[in-house]
Amino acid sequence: MTNTQIENPKILLETHHHPPTTWKTYFTFSTDHKVIGIQYIVTSFIFFLIGGILAMIIRGELITPEADLVDRTVYNAMFTMHGTIMLFLWTFPVLVGLANYLVPLMIGARDMAFPRLNAVAFWMVPVFGIILMASFFLPGGPAQAGWWSYPPVSLQNPTGNLINGQFLWLIAVAISGVSSIMGGVNFVTTIVKMRAPGMTFFRMPAYVWAVFSAQIIQLFGLPALTAGAVMLLLDLSIGTAFFDPAKGGNAVLFQHFFWFYSHPAVYVIILPVFGIFSEIFPVYSRKPLFGYKVVAVSSLLIAGVSGFVWVHHMFASGTPAWMRIVFMVSTMFVSVPTGIKVFAWVATIWGGKLRLTTPMLFALGGLIMFVFAGITGIMLSSVPIDIHVNNTYFVVGHFHYVLYGTVTMGMFAAFYHWFPKMTGRMYYEGLGKLHFWLSFIGTNLNFLPMHPLGLQGMLRRVSSYDPEYAFWNVIASIGGFLLGMSTLPFILNMIGSWVQGEKAPDNPWRAIGLEWLVASPPPVENFEEIPVVISEPYGYGKSEPLTANLEKQELARDLN
């Protein structure tokens, strides 16, 4: 018995009333996890666009070897804000948003454990977003010390004002940390305490496992960053000496605080995307997820190991040799559970009846680019290579394959896949495919050239460069602009379909999972009666195929 969790057909038929959500609901302090989820997603997408505009300016500057578009301080602010916005206002909140929407539905709960805390955590996002944006209007402009804000660079204060870009940056990051810790408490409690009867840990979808592991990292990593940020804030505002070498402080200690969180943070970002892959590949291959239990447990394993690898970002920071070796080995160890996952997805797709819909294309593209990023990641974890390419475009290429190629593409896969559930409408497949091909070609054109550039020695965070690097930079910029354009069909598609798309059935993909049992969009209380789960997830293709296109409701009626 491998099929999941489907309960009394009566419920399928009766929850079909419309949810009392109108567009106005999304501007209120709602405690419904589905509304909050969409609030998160839309808010972070707006910041994605802002971060994207900054990226266009950066690529515009780099299309010629001279610094001729913006001056150097503006350029510094551009890459600092680009990185900060993309991480703290796009990837983190958008993943939390998706998880907010899906987790209660997937585990058969009516809402998160603490709905009001959930809403408060969400509303902190626009607040710190606005605080961060406000720094564009300050004398001296936004922070310029890069998204990692290493002292002593971040302690420079040419304007002499207390309220400067760096100050607002730290406040924003601190608020973001508080909001994420609230989210972490809420997710962990929800997943541990609110599962429907019969939904044992080994009947949870792999996505829920991934969110669970990621939120555990948040809870145990973020406080370290918060501690470092508070100390840096004190240095900056009241003149303490923690990280200021001129006053006897220790600047490298900040790097430890920073990376103790920020390395595991990459798994906070990537694990839910692994979860998305694990949901999408089985549906569109019509096969169970290969090695489900191993995939599930490997998420927790990655979360655990990720706490012991942070020093690989500091190989070139005067770290003693023995420490470098320890952290080189531990870093390489992370690739074991990660590799197992990749193997499991490939085995899932292998020999399946593939349906190349937009979500499947995005997931496949994301997987291909993740494999590439993994290879460059293992290269970086080896000390001799890292010493050579540290602080060059090679690193930038590596993490953009992760952050655009895998995370952002994975998010798009999720948006398309769950769009019918969230809105009750179908998206336009043609526009979706256009979006995919523009992104896939754009990502590779943009970020692949960064690898040869880095190997040749082009440093990151420079606004002008030696003309010998011009060729690859022009290609990268063209790819960048293509990537910028690729968001247009997406926006058109989402808005257009939401307003007047074809009505979506409850389960358009014939997927298995509790979220597909409720109406599209789901009613406010999710489940009128809480379902009882009786088997493991991913029971696809165990036996003869059913006729195509048979609606689950009809089927339920048939069987009754």
């Binding site: 018995m1 491998t2 099929n3 969790q5 489907i6 309960e7 009394n8 057909p9 419920i11 454990a113 603490f114 810790i181 972490g184 962990v188 409690t189 305490k193 609110m194 009867p197 809870l219 145990f220 973020l222 406080p223 370290a224 501690a227 100390m231 004190l234 009241i238 303490t240 000496a241 923690f242 006897g248 402080g249 220790n250 200690l253 605080f257 103790f260 019509r286 009846k353 349906r355 819909t357 358009p508 014939r510 009666e529 809480i530 379902p531 009882v532 009786i534 088997s535 029971g539 696809y540 293709g541 165990k542 036996s543 003869e544 195929p545 059913l546 195509a548 296109n549 339920a556 069987l559």
Partner: protein, 206 residues
């Protein structure tokens, strides 16, 4: 959109024939679980500060600011004894509440509050007598950061205790359950344990 499916009819039928139940969750249990998770997370902030303190203490050449000999241990030690004892008092207050002995609860609970407040007072006196400030090198910064951040927690604890005391004056309020009291008391133990580590780090290991 054409969609293929290969779930077998029997399988679906099999799974459709399951029961449904009305499932309720125990809110107080959830809240307590969430609160414990939060405290675990918060302890990482303290651990980070402690780790920073140890790194500074073992690597900084001029650890103490010029003219400072070290910290006076006597008064903080008395303060420590008071704070640690208050953890026992609050435990008995909670016990009294569980036995529905309301006046016993209020008395012991107020005693905890008094002890906590005395701790804060003692720390204020200490701070005002010190000859270094938060900008006196890494030592000064660390000292005020650790004691200040901990003091803020003690203060929060006392405020929470006050709220719970006022709520206990409303008849019948704690008949059904008393998550607030339990959480406050857990928080108090947490703050206490942190102080013990802090006391050894800062005052004993000089």
């Amino acid at each position: 959109m054409t969609v293929n499916s290969s779930i077998s009819r029997e399988e679906l039928q099999e799974s459709l024939e399951t029961r449904t139940v009305e499932h309720t969750h125990d809110e107080a249990a959830n809240s307590m679980f969430g609160f414990i998770v939060f405290l675990l997370s918060e302890s990482i902030i303290f651990l980070s500060f402690f780790a920073g303190y140890i790194v500074y203490k073992t690597t900084t050449p001029d650890w103490l600011p010029p003219g400072v000999e070290g910290l006076e241990v006597r008064e903080p030690a008395i303060n420590t004894v008071i704070l640690v004892s208050s953890s026992f008092v609050i435990y008995f207050a909670e016990l009294a509440l569980k036995r529905h002995n309301m006046w016993g609860f209020r008395l012991l609970w107020s005693t905890t509050m008094a002890m906590g407040s005395y701790f804060l007072y003692g720390q204020a006196v200490e701070w005002s007598s010190l000859h270094f400030s938060v900008t006196s090198g890494v030592f000064g910064g660390m000292f005020y950061l650790l004691t200040g951040f901990h003091g803020l927690h003690v203060f929060t604890g006392v405020v929470l205790q006050l709220i719970m005391l006022v709520r206990s004056l409303i008849p019948g309020n704690y008949d059904q359950g008393h998550f607030g009291v339990d959480a406050t008391s857990l928080f108090w133990h947490f703050v206490d344990v942190i102080w013990i580590i802090l006391f050894f780090l800062i005052y004993i290991w000089q």
